[in-house]
Symmetry: C2
Subunit: 128 residues, 2 copies
Amino acid sequence: MDSRLISYRSIGTVESPFKVPAPPDTMKETVSSIIIDENLVEGLTGLHAGDKILVVFSFHESEGYNLLQHPRGDSSQPRRGVFSLRSPRRPNPIGITEVDLLNIDGNTLTVRGLDAIHGTPILDLKLV
Amino acid sequence: MDSRLISYRSIGTVESPFKVPAPPDTMKETVSSIIIDENLVEGLTGLHAGDKILVVFSFHESEGYNLLQHPRGDSSQPRRGVFSLRSPRRPNPIGITEVDLLNIDGNTLTVRGLDAIHGTPILDLKLV
C-alpha cells in the first residue's frame, strides 16, 4: 500500500447540457445542476439561492498530465507550469470553480458558472 | 470495486510550526512552507513571489464527519450544514485555502495564510 494514496467518494454528480468539454468561458455561461447524494442532503442546510459556492470536482475523463502546458492549449502562448494553470491534465485532476447558486430544491442545486461536463463527480462544496 | 472511489497521491507536504490544529485565524497569521515532490518542480514554472494561490490539501487527521455542525465548534451558534462550513469533519476531508506566496526556492514554497498543520499532504496548487 502506498501511504501517499488518498481516496474519496463522490458526494454527487453534475447534470449539464455539455456532454463533452467546451471552452471554460462558454461552459460558465450555462446553467447546470448538481445532484447531491440523498444521504447527504442535511449537509446543505445553510446554503441559499444567491450564495457563491466553491464546487470541488473530479476531472474524471482526464488521463495523464504535463508539467508544462500552453495555456488553454494555445500554442501561440509560451508553456507554463501546470500549477499556474487550471488545465484538467494535472497530477491530481481536481477542478475548483466558484459558481452562483441559483436555487436549491431537495438534493438538487441549480448553479451558473460551472465548467464541468455532464456526469462529473462532485467531491465537495464550500460556501465562499 | 466501488466506481465512486477517486484516488489521488500527495504532490507535497506542509512544514509548519503548528504540529496540532489551532484556530484557523491564528494559523493563517503564520508563515509556513510547502515542500513539493522533486519530480514535479517544473510544474511550478510561472508562479512567483507576490502571487495568490489556492492550496488544496487533505485534512489527513480528520476522521468521520457530521452533516450538521456548530460553526468552529461554537455551541452558542446554531448548527449548520457541513457544506456551508470549512470544518475538516466533512464527507471528503479536503481543505482549500487561498495563501500569499512569499517565495519560491527550488521545490520549497514559502507562504502566509495556510491553516494546515505540519505534515499535511498537498493535493494541488492553482494560481488565483
